[in-house]
């Protein structure tokens, strides 16, 4: 059986040499400093994983991964960066839909594991055949178009601010039920009772962080798609939400209607794709949570999750 293909791109050749050594033997390696070469490679051959630097002279990593995604959605994308700028993090999520965000200097064993995991996922995506159309449901002007489905899934809004709830209601109209949760318990109850497809969430509600919940939810219910809407721009929190929560979109507050509406439409579409194609859910496998403060929130969430699992087993 042929080895999986790993593409490495960085403007520093020493990084490429070092990474190539780390992965030698296990992968067919393509290493380049040229984004054009990288994009040609993913178009012309099956590339399982791309590990890209963020700051490169011709093209930013987030932009490159966005184009990789457009050319080959089954290729898993990892961003490797020396300094996490907010713009890069946000763009890598919203445009590149990346699998992991890894900081330099990296841990060799962890990076090897991450790449191996990405490779397995990519292999199963390639095996599953051509992916569902990647473009979201919206008109040319970005207008929200509600898809026709028999049982529309519920959108859960987790935010102190009523404005967000009303904005979501305005956008989706009568096509989707919308539930407003103002604390963790209300959110858990809603998750238990309703078929939630998309969660629109702040980072904290009622003065409690909900990032732990968002991460655990993705681990347990990968088909639920999360949009985080927040005025706080904390790079490390965002990276945690990508790696451990596979957050789908990171949007700034104050709310910009157009962008939000497009994101919501695309999140619903994405949820449906994930629901119908279990193989795709693996593409959003999350990293294990390490921070202890989140584990404490996690124990509360765990209770709910185990109930949910029991309920699932009973049916």
């Amino acid at each position: 059986m042929s080895k999986p293909t790993l593409l490495l791109i960085d403007d520093e050749e020493r990084i490429l040499r070092s990474l190539a050594m780390l992965f030698r033997g296990q992968y067919d390696l393509l290493a380049t400093t040229d984004p054009g070469v990288a994009l040609r490679a993913v178009t012309e051959q099956r590339v399982h994983v791309v590990v890209s630097d963020q700051r490169m002279p011709q093209m930013r990593g987030a932009e490159l991964l966005k184009q990789v995604r457009a050319r080959s959605p089954q290729t898993m994308r990892i961003l490797l960066t020396g300094y996490s700028e907010l713009d890069a993090v946000v763009a890598s999520v919203n445009e590149g839909e990346i699998f992991r965000f890894v900081n330099k200097p990296w841990d060799a064993a962890e990076l090897r594991d991450t790449v191996a995991q990405a490779t397995n996922i990519s292999a199963s995506l390639f095996a599953a055949g051509p992916a569902a159309p990647p473009e979201p449901l919206q008109t040319e002007t970005g207008q929200f178009v509600a898809p026709e489905v028999a049982r529309p899934e519920t959108i859960l809004v987790l935010d102190d601010d009523a404005e967000i709830y009303h904005a979501v209601q305005d956008i989706v109209g009568t096509s989707q039920p919308v539930i407003w949760a103002r604390d963790l318990d209300q959110a858990l109850t809603a998750l238990e009772r309703e078929a939630i497809g998309v969660v629109v969430s702040e980072l904290a509600v009622a003065n409690h962080s909900v990032t732990g919940l968002l991460k655990m939810l993705k681990a347990e219910r990968p088909e639920i798609v999360t949009i985080v809407l927040t005025p706080f721009a904390d790079v490390s929190v965002f990276i945690g939400l990508i790696n451990q929560g596979q957050v789908y979109r990171l949007l700034p507050k104050p709310l910009r209607r157009g962008a939000f509406s497009m994101s919501l439409a695309s999140a619903l579409r994405h949820h449906r794709v994930l629901r119908s194609a279990p193989a795709l859910r693996a593409a959003h496998a999350v990293e294990t949570i390490k921070a202890p403060e989140e584990v404490s929130v996690a124990t509360r969430v765990m209770g709910f999750l185990s109930r949910m699992r029991r309920a699932g087993a009973a049916t």
């Binding site: 520093e12 020493r14 990084i15 040499r17 070092s18 990474l19 050594m21 780390l22 030698r24 700051r55 490169m56 002279p57 490797l80 020396g82 300094y83 700028e85 900081n103 330099k104 200097p105 990296w106 060799a108 064993a109």
Partner: protein, 435 residues
């Protein structure tokens, strides 16, 4: 004609503190009686006295008016017994006791004639409440201005500090990226070489075992053959020429990476001069080079640097960390002014007998004429909110001026911008630079 009445504003007690408890004259009092009243010690400071009926001021009689009357022939005889109301000013300056000091001062100042012949009447809800003297108002105002000035200076110092922190943050971000790249491959290489080292240790152990077997008294040929094969396998995988060449390259890269990090740190120290005296004789060319290293992250891939340094330039006595701050500000601005590619930055230094000049010229988008006059103003910025304090150039100008120098700018839209910093070779006073 009352001063504007604003309630609940800053220190309503201000005017009350200036209030003088002056005994008013009744409208029936004679001009003579008024003159007598002016002679009383309690009224020695007063330019005029209030005339009050039923608790309300109906007017004032001024020393000046009495003088004018009494200086005329028979003036006292003609007017002395008449009612004081015949000479009174029926439209005195009235100020509400609750009016803010600033408003009161503005109101009174607008109505005082020259020479100043009047005081002002203080009223509480329309009723006579005492008198106020213009000079007191002025000194109260002076105090106010002094304390406002002190506060302003303090907040300006704070702003300068926050701008410093902002540019420091920008610098740290850049340097972190610069350091993390070599750190990335150095760490990875060390981890990989460490695992190769363990392979080596294991191989060595197996070779030792082989030696032991060879030198042992009882020789088990089958086991020996097995051990030889084992050693040969391990040795072959370690001695793989490709692996060895790659590993050597990794070690070379590692040393290179460590040196890169060392250079960055040395530069950071030179740039900030934290371990050196504040004022020193420095080579401006060195300052520019150190700043370029620090700014590297902000300008690399964007700007082609063209250096035209003057040779054998005299050293400049200055605060190098401050001059570096100015250079960093101008160089990063240039980086932002140029587009994604094709940007050029010319750095030129030259000196004559009295001045050293630094030219920092880019071929960026230029500064619009209407903005050019304002770029050194504090808080002037064309960047989006939150992306610039608008203090960078203002502080740069302050720093250069504190050095006894000047900073000039010429710019043309779509052509570029040139800043020229001139520093005197006979230095400014130490104290000016110590800040």
């Amino acid at each position: 004609m009352n001063a504007p009445l604003r309630s609940g504003s800053e220190s309503p007690a201000d005017l009350a503190r200036l209030r003088l408890d002056v005994a008013p004259l009744a409208p029936t009092a004679t001009v003579d009686a008024a003159a007598e009243a002016f002679l009383e010690a309690a009224n020695a400071r007063m330019l005029c006295l209030p005339i009050v009926a039923n608790g309300r001021a109906v007017g004032t009689i001024s020393r000046h008016t009495l003088n004018n009357v009494f200086l005329r022939r028979f003036g006292r005889e003609l007017y002395g017994t008449r009612s004081v109301t015949t000479l009174m000013n029926a439209e005195p300056i009235r100020v509400s006791l609750s009016a803010p000091l600033d408003d009161a001062a503005r109101f009174v100042a607008a109505r005082l004639g020259a020479p100043i012949t009047e005081d002002f009447v203080l009223e509480d809800d329309g009723r006579y409440a005492g008198m106020g003297v213009a000079v007191d108002l002025l000194s109260a105002l002076q105090q106010r201005v002094d304390s406002a000035f002190t506060a302003l200076k303090a907040s300006q110092a704070q702003l300068v500090q926050s701008e410093k922190m902002a540019s420091l943050g920008q610098m740290v971000a850049g340097v972190a990226h610069e350091i993390n790249t070599p750190l990335g491959y150095v760490r990875n290489n060390v981890e990989m070489v460490a695992s190769l080292f363990e392979d080596g240790v294991q191989t060595l152990g197996e070779h030792h075992k082989l030696l032991d077997m060879l030198t042992a008294d009882d020789l088990d040929e089958a086991a020996l053959a097995k051990q030889i094969a084992r050693c040969s396998d391990l040795g072959a995988s370690l001695a793989d020429p490709e692996l060895l060449a790659d590993t050597r390259a990794l070690l070379r890269d590692t040393l290179h990476g460590v040196d890169t990090i060392k250079d960055l740190v040395v530069n950071l120290r030179n740039f900030s001069r934290l371990d050196q005296s504040r004022v020193a004789e420095v080579s401006i060319n060195d300052c520019i080079d150190q700043t370029l290293v620090i700014a590297h992250n902000a300008i690399k891939h964007r700007l082609e640097i063209i250096k035209r340094y003057g040779e054998n330039l005299p050293a400049v006595r200055c605060s190098p960390s401050q001059i570096n701050q100015v250079l960093l500000n101008l160089i990063t601005n240039a980086g932002q002014a140029v587009g994604e590619d094709g940007g050029k930055l010319l750095l030129k230094t030259e000196a004559d007998a009295d001045w050293l000049r630094i030219h920092i010229q880019d071929n960026g988008r230029g500064i619009a004429a209407e903005h050019l006059a304002k770029i050194f103003d504090p808080f002037f910025t064309t960047k989006p909110v939150g992306q610039g304090t608008g203090l960078g150039l203002s502080i740069s100008q302050q720093i250069v001026q504190a050095h006894g120098g000047t900073i000039h700018v010429v710019s043309e839209l779509q052509r570029g911008t040139k800043f020229v910093i001139s520093l005197p070779l006979r230095a400014a006073s130490e104290s000016a630079l110590a800040a």
